[in-house]
């Protein structure tokens, strides 16, 4: 195997994730667009969504039940005790870099905590809040 061939092979192996990399801003833009033309996401509304007690789940009344009130801090799953990495991209660069993963977790967590799926506007607001590092 030549060096060139090996390099190509390694690039192909590493390639897909690099090629499909998305940024928090890409994902924010997609949800904003889905929320309606001219929608301006609000970190302030994102913060309220995150901190509100929804009264749906006994164990998970709000997002902070697992994520803590500080989105720059690590959290802990309220049932299993597993560590959850910070939500803010500044504290955890992997956060909001896969649209598929983001959609999966919004669906699960909104259903658990709020009792319904979140709207595109709510998702955009929350991501805005996270990108701003928790400053509304």
């Amino acid at each position: 195997m030549t060096v060139k061939k090996l390099c190509i092979t390694l690039m192909l192996l590493a390639g897909p994730s690099a090629a499909m990399a998305e940024t928090p801003k890409d994902i924010l833009s997609a949800y904003s667009a889905e929320a309606g033309s001219g929608y301006v996401p609000s970190a302030e509304r994102g913060k309220s969504l995150f901190l509100k007690d929804w009264g749906v789940s006994k164990d998970m009344p709000n997002c902070a039940a697992c994520h803590t009130k500080d989105i720059n801090a690590s959290g802990k799953h309220v049932t299993t005790g597993k560590t959850i990495e910070p939500l803010a991209p500044a504290a955890n660069p992997e956060r909001f870099t896969s649209a598929k993963k983001v959609a999966k977790w919004f669906k699960r967590n909104c259903n658990d905590v709020i009792g319904r799926e979140c709207t595109a506007a709510e998702k955009a607001d929350f991501i805005q809040f996270a990108i701003k590092g928790g400053k509304a």
């Binding site: 090996l6 299993t80 005790g81 598929k100 259903n111």
Partner: protein
């Protein structure tokens, strides 16, 4: 060049060799299973439930022991196929509740754990294997690697 290729191959191989180790919990590597089933708790070895149990469990991920753990249809199918291929068989590995901790195998294996140890704050839940099994991240379940939260160690009996 050949040396580099061999080095890469052996690095990749080490992970596998290590995971295979010495016990029946060994499973073929499967990234999707490990990532998805391992995001809220460790990815429990497929052998610990029957194929029928796994089918029921994967069919109800929207209500997964109190949490929504839904996957998209493709990922669900792929993971279920992997679980079915590597599932346990027989009553020992079966529980109507679909909880591994309710199977006869689990109950027997953990019969020496005292009620106080189960409710220890560092244990919290029976699903929290790593509270006592120190090296589950490397898929090592030997009794020699057990440290109870109070510091108690198990005997050096072999796993069964």
């Amino acid at each position: 060049m050949k040396r580099l290729a061999i080095l890469i191959l052996s690095l990749a191989g080490m992970g596998l060799a290590h995971a295979e180790g010495h016990n029946k919990m060994a499973v073929p590597d499967n990234v999707k299973w490990k990532t998805e089933c391992g995001s809220c708790h460790i990815a429990y070895p497929p052998k610990l439930l029957t194929a029928d149990n796994w089918r029921k469990l994967m069919g109800g991920l929207n209500k997964h022991f109190g949490a929504n753990a839904e996957l998209d249809a493709k990922d669900n199918q792929d993971i279920l196929a992997f679980l079915e291929r590597n599932a346990g068989s027989g009553e020992r590995y079966s529980a109507a509740s679909l909880r591994i901790t309710d199977t006869p195998w689990f109950r027997r294996e953990h019969r020496e754990v005292s009620p106080n140890e189960w409710v220890h704050p560092q244990v919290k839940s029976r699903s929290n294997c790593s509270a006592c099994h120190q090296n589950v991240a490397r898929n090592i379940w030997s009794e020699r690697d057990i440290r109870m939260p109070g510091g108690r160690r198990m005997g050096d009996d072999d796993d069964d």
